[in-house]
Amino acid sequence: MTYDITVIGSGPGGYVAAIRCAQLGFKTALVEKYSTLGGTCLNVGCIPSKALLDSTEHFHNAETTFKEHGVNITGLKADLAQMIKRKGEVVSQTTQGIDFLMKKNKIDVLHGLGSFVDKNTIKISGEKEQTITTDKVIIATGSKPSSLPFIQLDKKRVITSTEALELKEIPKHLIVIGGGVIGLELGSVYARLGSKVSVVEYMDSLIPTMDATLGRELKKSLSKLGFEYYLKHKVVEVKGAAKKVTIKAESPKGETVELEGDYCLVSVGRKPYTDGLGLDKVGITTDKAGRIEVNSQLQTNVPNIYAIGDVIKGAMLAHKAEEEGVFVAETIAGQKPHIHYNLIPGVVYTWPEVASVGYTEQQLKEQGKAYKTGSFPYRALGRARASMDIDGQVKVLADKTTDEILGVHIIGARAADMIASAVTAMEFRASAEDVSRMSHAHPTYMEAVKEACLAATEDRAIHM
């Protein structure tokens, strides 16, 4: 078969790219190694983790806040097996949705490991082997959990996020290596079910790439869930046994701390995945981190081959990959789309949620930019008090002279959904005063954004 465009990898970057290609009239093939479409995000990432996060949050609320709400339950019990079963159903419904979208857009789905024979020929090794020719190729092979060189991942006691979504029992003590998004989300799942969770992080804060306020606030909130932290601790040894796991870490003072638990989740990040792709056959180069090198058009050094998502530089986020998928499809069609990377939001689905877009306060300081800050706490919101979700705040950073919004950092209930309005405002380069002059429905959490903008404008929040 001959195709205009072949997309390798069916994650949110790949399948979105394929759909946009098809919409633009290209004859498109989508190559996927696994039997289900959707990649990490749909199968072992965003979607299943959110399913478990929601289930456990319900349980946690039933346990902690229902009584206060006047809802009395006896015999409350967490059924992990059912939670995992429901998660499985959510995943299979979602991946089947992608199957439908591929059919609808007349995209040929080819199951098997795709690898380059030459720059226009792809071999697909699945149940049967087939070879296709293609004018253009979009590599969207994503990433895999990474580890540390001395850690032996036995996938039973020393596990990655993939296994953490399929545990058969609630850990008594879950040790999480890495205080980033994945570790804190999955740590939350089990902490809510009663696990003791210890987070060992090499840096001096949680979610260290986000604005420092968010890390600090999140640390406080998760402390209430029983999280224990070992910040600035360097893990030096991880030993998995049949029923337990022990880890050793060096404290900032150089002392060795030993932790014993029944599971250890290694969540130190993810690495680009290009195994078996045959990049050497076409001479595509990767950088030291294993990422495929691309130019501003997301084109590799082989002009008819593009790459998007986790396999190239930038934040490893599903929605970043989606934007890039659309970008490449349109670029191939001769259009001139744009991506504002600084305006791609980052979200952590803990509770309270954390969401952020634009520059952090630290970045503005480094740039020497004159900025002003406006913050507003959730606990001053009627909506938050009504639902007992009073942890959190919105912080708005704006240019000191022009009042243009430069960053919005939210921790609190529904932050993940609220951040979209900040992206909209910033895409149009709104000022803090602009947003504060737009009507926000009452009572909503979004009022905190308006109030923070008022605070940033002239320190004139109404409800503070």
Binding site: R216, P303, Q335, K336, P337, H338, H340, P377, R379, A380, Q393, D399, T401, T402, E404, E427, F428, R429, A430, S431, D434, E458, D459, M464
Partner: protein, 505 residues
Amino acid sequence: MSLDIKIPQVGESITEVTIASWLKKEGDFVQLDEVLCELESDKATFELNAEAAGVLRIKAQEGETIEIGAVVCSIEEGKGSAVAAPVVEKIDKSSQSQATSATISTGQKLEMRVPEVGESITEVTLSSWIKKEGDFVTLDEVIAEIDSDKATFELPAEGVGILHPAANEGDTLKIGDLICTIEISEGVPAKAQTPQASSVVASSNQSYATGHASPAASKILSEKGINTSAISGTGVDGRITKEDADKAQKEASKPQPLSTSKSEAPIVLPAGERNETRKKMSSLRKTVSRRLVAVKNDTAMLTTFNEVNMKPIMDLRNKYKEQFKEKHEIGLGFMSFFTKACTVALLEWPAVNGQIDGDEMVYHDFCDISIAVSAPKGLVVPVIRNAEKLSFAGIESEVRRLALKARDNKLTIPEMTGGTFTITNGGVFGSMMSTPIINSPQSAILGMHNIVERAVVENGEIVIRPMMYLALSYDHRIIDGRESVSFLVRVKELLEDPTRLLLEV
């Protein structure tokens, strides 16, 4: 010197706070405005900032509850570190809010001054008065137009009453200069002078976001190759909306009404009429000028020349003119010969047909020949697609179709974009010799000139021949001298012996 830091007022009804955590330790060196500790009240969490740079001395520990105004720490100021004036901001604000409001009484005069119109703009030119001395103006009515070096904006009246201009058209004024006074009329309230920040918004639509294109608009403009600075946005504060971007080029291809300046100061001279007329540059003219200069600056352009004996083509044309017209219903002109000869030569010398895109060179296996046509409002360059595949009649009818559309201003954007090589004919206006400018992003352009009978030497004899000079301007970055010269020689050969076009030799 040691500066005590006290718990500030954090809100009404809050009398005490708890120290949640110290972010800095005893003895740390802290910078001005750095967060020292976090305070919790029953309503919210606050950050306490350093009011000076220096060494921190903590006086209240984590978990302690203390009253507003109590000392939490002190800062031993380091040498040369600036002391922050505490609560300067609050003082500013209160002074700002003392908005001077113009009163209602008769005889009251409201002075209007040149408002701030944007960063880095320090002076403006009063381009025209829309209202005259003695006119009655109402609030927010536009009374004058003002030009800055960045944009033109309108000046609205800040009150209701009789206008008395204080500056003349053409005057250059500094920001804050008196521009006019308004004699407030009885019983009608004047617009209160708003604080400066909002008066900027009210009196002009210039801001940092002026000219910022929305996400959809910026994609459209990129695709059209239009710079955001070339169009004025109709969105809030001059933002460029999707509709602005959609319209951008359509407007450029419409003739712009020519407005003469209203500020024609009479020039006193002894005799004779000496009028100067100023016309605004049309968008097309602006685009053309910007692109031409860009080509001059961004390419390594030079021109090579040759001459061609037109007799063979003229003979051929004379011989078959009638038959050609009868069969194809179109006249046989020179353009078809030149276009055809160029396509043959272009395919042989692909660099001449190529272009530079960033760090890459793009070659084409087709010849899309742009033809420079003089249209009523200026030069336009429609494209003959796949000219290499067209017959003579095909080329002639395309040339005619495009020329007619150009004449009627009906060319579409797609019809004018994407050529790979350009032919321009200055000969129709009588040009003997010229050095045409490349039609960017193409790499070469052929200039045709007038046909003049010249004495030339053929086989050792002086004979009279209809001769034309040819000029090829090219971008030396992508085309070498050998290629450009060979290309032009090849064109000459094909034109001097058109049978070659038939035989492809």
